[in-house]
């Protein structure tokens, strides 16, 4: 699974940057075509939903998708067996 921010819905409130326990969402630095600074993703493959949603068969954390007032955060299916380098921090 892949974490995606829908730029056509995001209004740039940066609420997701406050709740992610992995600090995957970082404040962005460039305007998009709608004039909104969309947060950028810092190594989104660390997200437990991306790694483990299939294995557990349910959504695991999902705090960012729940708190997003504009319903802009979602997980997308990926092409099977895309290799990712995952660094686990302790």
């Amino acid at each position: 699974m892949k974490l995606v921010i829908d730029e056509s819905r995001c209004k740039g409130c940066n609420l997701c940057t406050m709740v992610c326990p992995y600090h995957i969402f970082q404040e962005g630095d460039r305007l998009n075509e709608r004039g909104i600074i969309v947060p950028k993703l810092d190594r989104p493959e660390r997200c437990p939903n991306c790694r483990l949603q299939k294995l557990y068969g349910r959504r695991l954390c999902g705090a960012c998708a729940l708190i997003c007032p504009d319903q802009a955060i979602r997980w997308e299916e990926e092409k099977p067996y895309e290799k990712h380098k995952v660094v686990i921090e302790y």
Binding site: S8, R9, K11, G12, C13, N14, L15, M18, V19, R59, A63, A65, L66, I67, C68, P69, D70, Q71, R74
Partner: protein
Amino acid sequence: MTFMDWYREDRLPHIYCTGCGNGTVINCTLEAVEQMGWAVDDTVFISGIGCSSRAPGYIKTDSLHTTHGRALAFATGVKLANPRLNVVVFTGDGDLAAIGGNHFIHACRRNVDLTVVCMNNMIYGMTGGQGSPCTPVGAISTTTPYGAVEPVFDLSELAVTAGANYVARWTSYHVKELTKAVKDGLETPGFSFIEALTQCPTAYGRRNKLRQVSDMINYMRTNVILIQKKQRMLERGEAVPEEKIPVGEFVRRNRPAMGVPK
């Protein structure tokens, strides 16, 4: 299945301002409804007038957008006419406490089988930031330019006193807890009232030195106290700071309810 399946995606993005907490509360409510496993055809969302009351327009189910403050009156009618329907009411603090206050206490007294989600943003947001019964003392709004002086209505305590079966209060920062509280409210027969404190950066925060969304979230995060902790502090005789807002489950009881299908 996620809560996104309940949204009318053709209507999104919604008209709420940047950082408005109402979208978060709709997410949490729909997630709880999704966990209940209800069908779209058996669920009705009802609302009055205000920012919060635009919510059912973005949801796939049947909905009623009613007159100001009268959402609970319409919801009582829907529930009693067809008790098989699952009725959820979205309302705001101005809608529920100011104009619909009488409907609120009598719906609590009758204990109709409804779930009411009140998005309390402490101000009339849609009409330009007038003071509501929930505006904190000292807060500045367009009708209280020198700071609000009236005592604040505590909606959760009011619902407990008036006889609701389930009462909880959370904020739009506590998404997981809010989802759990809404789910408990949906499961409880009888009147369940969930008050969700939301941020309003446009009408409230702009005038009260909380201009950024993160400022309002930090205000809610630091100024809440769990109600069990507050009770422990009171038992030990410690002073609870005045500005702390108790959150958590206020009451869960089993009074005879109206409109529960036999």
